[in-house]
């Protein structure tokens, strides 16, 4: 066996430690639909008339069972669904300046959660925003 100039064991161990250190979370919004309230991270464009209907924050909290199962619905799409429901209740056309806050678990942490299944991982997602009703000049159009 030829001696490698790079010590392989420490490199492999470092790679193993570093792999799965990035956690990402995403959600895909449905196509724009004039019947559904819109949700956007932007504000109302300058000059567009609108009425503010109030601020809202939706928080969903639960645990991940076996590292991956999410029976309580603590993913971003579940929070957005609830936000949409609240927007309908408030009579809003949509939610502007929406902000999402979620601390995702890395793959390594989820696998650890699956192995140590008796220790469920706490999970939480928060979405904030402002309900608005667009005035007639722009009603129906997503800003």
């Amino acid at each position: 066996m030829v001696d490698s100039p790079v010590p392989m064991r420490p490199v492999a161990a470092s790679l193993l430690l570093l792999a799965g250190c990035t956690a990402s979370t995403f959600t895909r919004l449905p196509s724009p639909d004039p019947i559904r309230p819109f949700v956007t991270a932007e504000g109302i464009p300058a000059g567009s008339p609108y009425d503010s209907l109030g601020l809202v924050q939706v928080t969903r909290r639960g645990v991940l069972v076996f590292g991956f199962a999410d029976p309580a619905g603590t993913e971003v799409d579940a929070a957005l669904e609830e936000l949409e429901l609240e927007a309908r209740k408030a009579g809003a056309d949509g939610v502007v300046n929406a902000r999402v806050l979620k601390q995702p678990w890395t793959l390594a942490e989820r696998i650890t959660g699956a192995v140590l299944f008796f220790l469920p991982l706490p999970s939480e997602v928060t979405v904030t925003g402002e309900f608005v009703r667009l005035r007639k000049a722009t009603a129906g159009s997503v800003p």
Binding site: P49, Q57, T59, R61, A72, E130
Partner: protein, 150 residues
């Protein structure tokens, strides 16, 4: 049997009452109903303005027995109270790009749990009612409009 109960309780806990919705009152509309008072918005300004600075307010309160709120850990309190007062003190007549976060909202399940625990404590005479610290943080950009608010 005990094991089954524990599993059932864990499952019930993970499925039930996991959601908390915090609501705050309406901010300013555009065009504003009146050019008096403080213009408050999570969006930008509807006219020309000068930025005077930035402000952050952290409202503190206590939730008693899961349902009774005391203090300023609501969305309306810090925004209409401390945030607007601070902006006014800086010489501003508006706060834009307002961001807010109810740091530890209580889910329906947690409310019910705190209420039940409080009743149990009072009935047994051992401890008092359950109390939970609550925090709301609000930030914004303080501005002064050049001319009337549109």
């Amino acid at each position: 049997m005990k094991r089954a109960l524990t599993v059932f309780s864990a499952l019930a806990l993970s499925l039930s009452g996991c959601s908390a919705v915090t609501r705050g009152g309406a901010l300013s509309s555009v065009p504003a109903a009146s050019d008096r008072g403080m213009f408050l918005s999570t969006s930008g300004a509807p006219g020309r303005y000068t930025t005077l600075g930035f402000v952050q307010v952290r409202g503190y309160g206590v939730q008693v027995a899961g349902y009774q709120e005391a203090g300023h850990a609501t969305l309306d309190g810090p925004i209409r109270g401390a945030l607007a007062a601070e902006a006014s003190r800086m010489g501003g007549n508006g706060v834009i790009h307002i961001e807010f976060l109810d740091e530890n909202p209580t889910t329906d399940f947690e409310r019910a749990q705190a209420a039940a625990q409080s009743i149990q404590n009072l009935a047994s005479g051992q401890r008092g009612v359950e109390a939970k610290d609550r925090y709301v943080t609000v930030t914004g950009e303080v501005i002064r409009f050049e001319g009337a608010v549109q």
